[in-house]
């Protein structure tokens, strides 16, 4: 379970949200610039809230009062970026293995091959991100973070970089891949995507949940 309580002063408004995500897919919906991406970045540790508390499965990731701020590397969150952030200088295999090596996972090769098989990207192993379609990139990005079994999945507008006609299939695919009994936070400005994918939804407006 993920418990989030964040206060952060931003240039345009104050971000002030608190919500809980059980082991389901929760949507965080709002217009662009409403603070939803910032919320995800705070959970991941990319940004630091001014005040608040973030707890993941009884593990305190951030607590402004107790001065706890676990570094990003140690939070074990899976973050899917809007642009997927695949490393352009590495092929698919390296993109997935580089994080596992950094985490000193045993049998990196076996884990990578297993996860590539699971996400049906085995034949793309030696391709570079530039040589992949949008849908393939999304699958590689998901495989890359699922490989190290994160405790929470944070998806930041994962469909905004895709063509409309691809979206529906991928949405269904993603939904089946996300049946993982872990908290998943899905951020989007698109109501349809959120209703299709999510068990719960929060609407966020100018930094507050409405």
């Amino acid at each position: 379970m993920l418990e989030v309580q964040i206060y952060k002063k931003l240039a345009e408004f104050d971000l002030d949200v608190s919500f809980q995500v059980h082991d389901n897919i929760s949507g965080l919906m709002g217009a662009s610039g409403s603070g939803k991406s910032m919320t995800l970045k705070c959970i991941a540790g990319i940004e630091t809230p001014d005040q608040g508390r973030i707890v993941l499965n009884d593990r305190v990731l951030f607590d402004s009062e107790k001065k706890i701020n676990v570094p990003i590397q140690k939070r074990n969150v899976g973050y899917m970026f809007q642009s997927y952030a695949l490393f352009p200088n590495m092929d698919v295999y390296e993109n997935i293995s580089v994080g596992l090596r950094a985490r000193k996972v045993n049998d990196v090769d076996i884990v990578v091959r297993k996860v590539m098989k699971q996400f049906q990207i085995s034949e793309l192993a030696s391709r570079y991100p530039k040589q992949l379609s949008g849908g393939q990139r999304q699958r590689v990005a998901l495989a890359r973070l699922m490989a190290y079994e994160p405790d929470v999945l944070l998806l930041d507008e994962p469909f905004s970089a895709l063509d409309e006609d691809l979206k529906e299939d991928l949405l269904r695919e993603l939904k089946s891949e996300l049946q993982i009994s872990k908290p998943v936070v899905f951020v989007s400005h698109n109501e349809e995507e959120v209703s299709e994918l999510c068990d719960f939804k929060y609407k966020i407006k100018l930094g507050e949940i409405v």
């Binding site: 991941a44 990319i46 990003i72 899976g78 973050y79 970026f81 952030a85 490393f87 580089v98 530039k130």
Partner: protein, 231 residues
């Protein structure tokens, strides 16, 4: 030291190539690390101050940089004295002085190009690398450098050419000792001063040849990168 047939002194070519080669290795590493250090700072004020310090040798007259180097490494200055008494090494007016002068003067070119190249790398890549668990050093080596490579390489080539052409600070700190600290640019100056334009012209063409080759190689590399990226 005259240009009369076989009397032409070739040692400046050797000294310059040796200086420039050692210099570019040191400058390349220092410039990259400095750029990375600045890139990783959060405080804008701190960035601005240190960026100013790192860039100073590029905008100051080289003689001014040379003056400060003499104040540091001169035989009667604290650091110069320390090297003398501890290791028996005299820095000023030795070969190492040509390297120190060239490193200081060429460093800003490397630093600025590398920093500019790091700033161009998509920050999401760095964030992604962190969420994947990669250490900052690992990110520097495997994400930042490879994705900033064209800018880093061009900084390196420019710094190499600048180090090869260094005159002012070299003359101040290393002097003009034939066979020891007389580099190509210093040799050009000396020959002109002694009225031997023929020898000066020879050294001039050698410098032009080396620098032009370096820049052409850089352009070829960048052409290759552009082609590779556009599939």
């Amino acid at each position: 030291m005259s240009a009369q047939g076989s009397n032409l002194d070739l040692t400046p070519i050797w000294i310059s190539l040796k200086t420039a080669s050692i210099t570019i290795v040191i400058t390349f590493i220092l410039g990259l690390l400095a750029a990375w250090w600045i890139y990783s700072r959060k405080s804008e004020a701190l960035k601005m101050v240190f960026d100013g310090i790192f860039t100073l040798p590029m905008v100051l007259p080289p003689t001014v940089a040379g003056f400060f180097l003499l104040m540091i490494f001169g035989v009667n200055q604290p650091i110069g004295k320390f090297f003398m008494s501890a290791f028996g090494i005299r820095i000023a007016f030795s070969f190492s002085a040509t390297v120190i002068a060239a490193v200081v003067i060429s460093f800003p070119l490397m630093y600025r190009n590398a920093r500019g190249a790091f700033d161009q790398v998509d920050t999401d890549l760095v964030y992604a690398a962190r969420t994947l668990g990669m250490s900052e050093w690992n990110i520097f080596l495997k994400v930042l450098i490879p994705n900033a490579l064209p800018g880093i390489i061009s900084g390196g080539v420019l710094a190499f050419a600048r180090g090869l052409g260094e005159f002012g600070a070299t003359a101040m700190l290393a002097g003009n000792i034939i066979g020891k600290t007389r580099t190509l640019p210093v040799a050009v100056y000396s020959e002109v001063m002694s009225g031997d334009m023929e020898s000066a012209a020879f050294y001039v063409w050698v410098i032009i040849g080396i620098c032009f080759t370096a820049v052409i190689l850089l352009n070829l590399y960048q052409l290759y990168v552009r082609k590779k990226r556009s599939f």
